[in-house]
Structure formats: C-alpha cells, structure tokens
Symmetry: C2
Subunit: 438 residues, 2 copies
C-alpha cells in the first residue's frame, strides 16, 4: 500500500483514482454472444456452456429433485446460518415498508387542486432475473440479497441463472439459498449468454423486465448492452471497494483485517484507509503484513493492495469530506464518535460504524443489502432496496369541477408551448360542461 502523509489536493485526487479497465475487446465478444443467443436460443446456450463451463448441459432448467438433493447436502449449521441471514435481511427490507407506509396497496390521495385527486402506487416488476456467478466462490449470500427483496416486493416471476461446474452441478448452497429466498425457477446458464437469455428469452428461459446481480466484465458489459435495448438492470457494476476511516480509537488488527477482507475479492479491488493519526499508519501497515502472510488468497490480496493507499489527513472532518468525495461502496467509520461522523456522510453505499462492525458482517448477516454501487456511483445510486423490484405508477382523477379549476391554466401553458392539440383536449371538455349548463 502506498502511504501518503498530508497529501496536497492533486496528490490526494490521484490516490483516489479508481483503476480503470479497457473494454474494447470484451465489447466485441459480448456483442457476438448476445446476438448468438438472440438467434439461437437454447441451442446457443448449450454450445456456450460446453465451451465456457466445460459441461454439455442437457436440461437447462434445474428440477425440484436437484433442489431436494442440494438441501440434503447442506450441513445443518450452514442451513441455520442461511436462515438467520434471511431473517435479518427480511427484517431490514420490511422496515422500509413499515416506515414508508405500504404504498403497494394503500394509496394516500393528495388533492392538489379542487376536483383534482392524485396518488401513486408502487407496483412489483412482474418478471425479474437474478444472475449468480459460478466459479470458485459460490455467492449464495447474493442469492439471498436479491431473492428476498424480490419476493417481498411481490414480483411474480423470480428466475435465476447460474453456470454449472465442469461436473454439471450447481453448488448446493446456491440452490438451497434460492429455495429459502423464494426463487421460482433456476436455470443452468452463466456469463454473458445468461444475460442474453434473460433479456431476449429462449425456448426454456423466459424473458424478464429487469436483471440483477454481479458478474465478471463480460456479464457487466452484457447487462449494459441489453439495457440499451430495453431490459432494465440493477446498477452499473465495478470492482469492490472499501474505505476505512481509522481514528485514534481504531484497533489496528481490525482495520488490517477489514482492508484484507476487501482486497481478497479480486486483483482489481481497491481499499483505502484514511486517518488523522500518524501512528495508525505504522500500526496498520505492520498488522496487514502479518495477516496477509497467512491468507489462502494472499496473491490476490497482495495485488489489490497495490491499487491501495493509506492516507494521513489533517482531521477527522477532512477524512469524512474525502470519503464523501470518493463515495465508496463500503465505508467503515472507526472513530471516537462514529455516530457523529455518520451524520456527515453524504455519499456511500453502506456504512459500518464502530470497531466491531466489520464489513464482512454486512456481506452476510446484518440485514442491509450487499448489492451496492461501486466506482463512485454511490454519488447517484442506492444499493438494492425493495424499490429496486418495484416501479411507481402515478394516478390522477380530474372531475368536471377539476377541469374547470385547472383547465384554463392548462390551455394557456399548452398554447405557450405551441401544443394546440394539448389545449384543445381541455377546451373540448370545458365547452361540453358549458353546453350542459345551458
């Protein structure tokens, strides 16, 4: 990790640059895959699976018997852990409904003008698709984080694509988590081709209206491209990030462990420590070295530490200001008064307060969603919420009284915008009311 002591503005800005990735070659490959699936359907999916997953898939759809078998393979301790995680995730997402009023069913009417009643209703997105990567790390936690709010929102069709291993199997934890979350249908398909299948539909896999979930650069690019063609996506995706504000009360061994936990995600992950204590840099550096040496993924972690910095700043306020500018996906605040600092946070995906809040608890167990904006998108994007699985529909009822109240101003404004037919649609009604009166 680079160490910066009281950097100037330019030096600080450079340290906060995110590693960028070229996309040209990926783009061409992804476009080919999308168009192959659009034209070839299931057959194209099978061919890609043989090529990329090393397995010739016969049945794309996972059967109930496969899920039952998976359930038998998961240990009781992991089942209990998954159920606890599911329960915490449910509690957090349901709190948003409770606090916001249940706009799914009970509209609150606003009379904006006499005879003009307006309201809205949050309606579930009927068909959603979840993508869960395969590979060495089976992200069953993400199945919970996406499947549970989809179910709570009331989505009718919740389908999931995940690639099989070279033995044709899907990790049983992923299947069990899908059952707990309430996923309706699971398909053996991975990579950009799975995104294409959910966007366009194939013989086996129905098209959905919105696609969620993490993935490598091919998956991410595929999501961006299908969005341009009409399928919504959860959010732009990028490498995982962690920023830690370590005040003088932070515990160096904890900070080091947190930095390493994020660094192990991939070689392009970025971790940054901000502190107002010079000593903290020395202590965390030492702890990081000690802990890195015994990590199984130490090669990955060591590489991503190369993208990373420990930065000494003048004050805690300066640390928070810098965090807001960077807008990290994850922000740990380990300062003497973390609640005070929390109030000043204006841009971050998910914030962890105090010495005992490790970022990894948020990946699994605390309850808030772990699908979060990266790459500075926390300036404008939220993590996944119930709202991500719904859309708001506006309603308005204008009565005969109402059109007389707001009609004349509507005519005036429509004419000023040179939209005469807009004005005429009001005038014809006003005239009708006049004629009725006489």
């Amino acid at each position: 990790m680079r160490k910066l002591l009281y950097p100037g503005a330019a030096e600080l800005a450079a340290a906060l640059e995110r590693p960028s990735a070229g996309n040209r070659e990926i783009d061409l490959k992804v476009r080919e895959i999308l168009s192959a699936v659009k034209g070839g359907g299931d057959a194209a999916l099978r061919a890609f699976s043989e090529r990329f997953d090393g397995f010739a898939v016969t049945s794309l759809r996972v059967e109930a018997a496969d899920i039952e078998q998976a359930e038998r393979e998961v240990t009781p301790a992991l089942k209990k852990a998954i159920q606890s995680a599911a329960s915490n995730i449910e509690k957090f997402h349901l709190a948003a409904i409770r606090s916001a009023g249940d706009n799914r069913t009970i509209p609150e009417v606003t009379v904006t003008a006499p005879g003009v009643r307006c309201w809205y209703r949050d309606s579930p997105i009927e068909k959603v698709g979840l993508y869960i990567p395969g590979g060495t790390a089976p992200l069953f936690s993400t199945v919970l984080m996406l499947g549970i709010p989809a179910r709570l929102a009331g989505c009718r069709d919740i389908l999931m694509c995940t690639p099989p291993g070279s033995d044709g199997k899907i990790n049983p934890l992923i299947l069990y988590a899908a059952k707990v979350a309430g996923v309706n249908a699971i398909f053996r398909a991975g990579g950009a081709q799975a995104i294409a299948a959910m966007a366009y539909g194939t013989e086996s896999i129905p098209a959905v209206y919105k696609i969620f979930g993490p993935g490598n650069r091919y998956v991410t690019r595929a999501k961006e491209l299908v969005q341009l063609e009409g399928t919504a996506i959860d959010m732009p995706a990028g490498p995982s990030e962690l920023m830690v504000i370590a005040g003088r009360t932070a515990i160096p061994a904890f900070v080091a462990a947190d930095l390493l936990s994020q660094a192990e995600h991939g070689t392009d992950s970025q971790v940054i420590m901000l502190t107002d204590s010079r000593q903290m840099i020395t202590l965390v550096e030492k702890e990081t070295e000690l802990q890195l040496a015994i990590l199984p993924r130490k090669d990955i972690a060591a590489q991503s530490l190369g993208n990373s910095s420990m930065i000494l700043l003048e004050s805690e306020d300066k640390c928070i200001e810098t965090a807001n500018r960077y807008a990290p996906e994850h922000l740990i605040i380990a300062t003497p008064d973390p609640m005070r600092a929390a109030e000043q946070v204006t841009s971050a995906g998910s914030v962890f307060l105090g010495n005992f809040s490790s970022e990894s608890t948020g990946d699994y167990m605390t309850g808030p969603n772990h699908t979060l904006p990266t790459g500075g998108f926390a300036r404008s994007f939220s993590g996944v919420t119930l709202g991500s699985f719904m859309k708001r529909i506006f309603f308005q009822e204008v009565t005969a009284e109402g059109i007389q109240t707001i009609g004349p101003d509507t005519v005036l404004m429509a004419e000023a915008e040179m939209l005469r037919a807009h004005a005429a649609a009001v005038s014809v009604r006003l005239k009708y009311i006049d004629d009725e009166k006489n």
Copy 2:
C-alpha cells in the same frame, strides 16, 4: 389509424409493436461530439452552438439580468399559471415525503439481531443537471417537473442547459420557470454537446452526477453513452405514447382530442385506443377526422396516427390486460367504473381516470410528474419522483454483543464462499473479546 376488430393474439401483438428507430449513424455523430467536448471544453461548445443553433455564444452562463429581463417579458396570466402548476407539483411530491416519513433526516432503526442496529438515510444527489430542449416548442413545463423535485430533495447544485435560438435568446418562459423551480445556474448549450458538458464538465459548466430531461435522438443517445462512463441518467427515453381505454361511457369527442394531443408531439408518437364497444370506434374515428382538420400541427399528427390503432376487444378486462402488457407511458381510463379498472393496472407511467381527466392536464397542472417511462419501460421504471434526486445510504452498527450474535454465522458463510479474509475480519474481533474477558 388502423382498425382491428377482435384481433387474434399475433395480430394484436403486431399492433402493439412500437415503431423502432435505427441508431447507427446517430451513434457515430454523438461519439464525435462527446469526445470533442471532453477535449475542447467551452471552445467546443461555442463551435457547436454556432453550427447547430446558428448563434455565436459568447457567455455560456445566463446572467441574473437576463433572468430579470425574461421575468418582465412573461405575461401576468402565464406567471400565475406557472405558479399554480408549481404549487400542484410541490404538493404531490411533498405528499410522498409525508406518507413515506422523512427518511432524509429521521432514520428509523431496525434491530435485526441483538447488538445489530440498522437504518438508512435518503441523501440528495449533490449535483444534478437538467436538459431542456429548445426549438419550436419551449418546454418550460419540463423545467418545473424536473427543477421542483430537485429542490425539494435538497440537491445542492441544480444546473440547467438549454440551447439559445438563432437570435441568441432563450425563451423567457423557460428562464422564468427555472427561477420559480429553483434552478441554481443556467447555461446556453444544447444537444449532445450539452449532455457532454454536464457529464465531463468544462471551464464554465461544472460536471454533475446525474442528468435529467428529454431531447431528440442525439440527446438521448448522448445520455446513454455518458451513463456507461459514470454519469447517471433519469431513464431511457423514447417517443411519447398514449393508450386510451374507451368504455361505452366514454365521450368520443374527448377521446379523439386526447389521441390527437399525443399525436401532435412528433411523427414517431404512438396512440392506441382500446375499447369493448364497436360503436366507439366509428364515433371516435369520425371525431378524429373532424378535429384533425383544424389543428395547426395536423401534418405531424396525421403521420403519427399512421403508427396508431383502434382496437376492439372482447371485454373491459381484456382491455386492461392489454394495457398492462403494453405498459403505456400515459393511460386514460374512460370506462363506467374507472376506479375499479385503476386497481387492476400493473404497468403504466401515469394513469388518467374518468372522462374529464385529459392527458394534457397531467402534462402541466395535476401534480404528478410528466417525465415518464416510454417504450414499455413502464414495466420496470417509474416516472421521475423525489427519489430520482436522492440515493439511499445504508448504515449498520454492530456492537461487541452484536459481533458475538452474528459473528459465528458470518464466519461459517464466508468460509463456505471461500472468502477466508472475510471470516478472519470477524474472528479477529471475536478473539479480541475473548482475550478481554480472560
């Protein structure tokens, strides 16, 4: 307008197809413009303005004196209309805060497990940019629809770009509406180049985090492209649409006027009438001919009627089902019991109930936002709300008790996902607590 009487499934699906637009040539031009502005800043903007707007802009920023001058030029009647519209828009958007609880400031804490406190806060997007097209129809109503929720959400910098006319002037109604809405800074820039300026920043125009607003295909494509590079956008945009469900109680002259009001937007607009009354088709067709003949924009309206259909279906329920499948931007329900029908709507941008609710009242005066999802995106997207100008930040505080509650399950799950450093970040804390005890 085509007339379809009890169409079969395939015929109905074909009638509901949206006109599609080729994008290849536009794409290349827009990429050139984006890169010119990225490299050339203000100078590039000036050159484009001379070329596209026919005016050599000297000062990009609109000065206070220009706004004062505009205010003098707006008639008292239009001022009053704009203020009434602003008040209705405010009422509707504020109702969402009232009904949802003010999550901007008062977090409601959920204890998801003993020692684990979670909450969220909706925080304004600090810098937003509004794009308002120029041309023959000065869309000052859109200034209100975007500027007011931006201000209510608490966005710090609300800037607006709009092209000057060939006389260098911006329509005074646009400037006056910007003042009423609370826009902080206005710039003379239009088209794809204005989108580039707000995405990348220039010497005069600061970069923003999210761009809102309608535009032609160049503007739309520019928004899509800058989104891939890190600037959020309000929603995918397309030609305007209206669907009317005209039951036997609908008034043919009103329906015709509504169809024409949407058809005048542009030659690519689409209007569709669904009905369960054969007679209604004859009556509306006759009224449409009569009213079309006297419209100033009759050429445009006549062309977009060419994309449009009147469809006779078996029942009102079948009409609503068809509307949900089409997911129109605007849906008028003029049936004997519109409230009953409203409850069955699952996908639409904005819904207008009863004979007196013309769609054009919603464009200006009713209160709900008129920036709405087109092209079927109402299946997954909402219109613009206060939430469009905010992002939700998650918070969690795990105490020493909390890490003991959720720590062991976190370790188990992290290890099952092969993320050992994630587990270690918890273990180091559990060990610390153990050591403290002994």
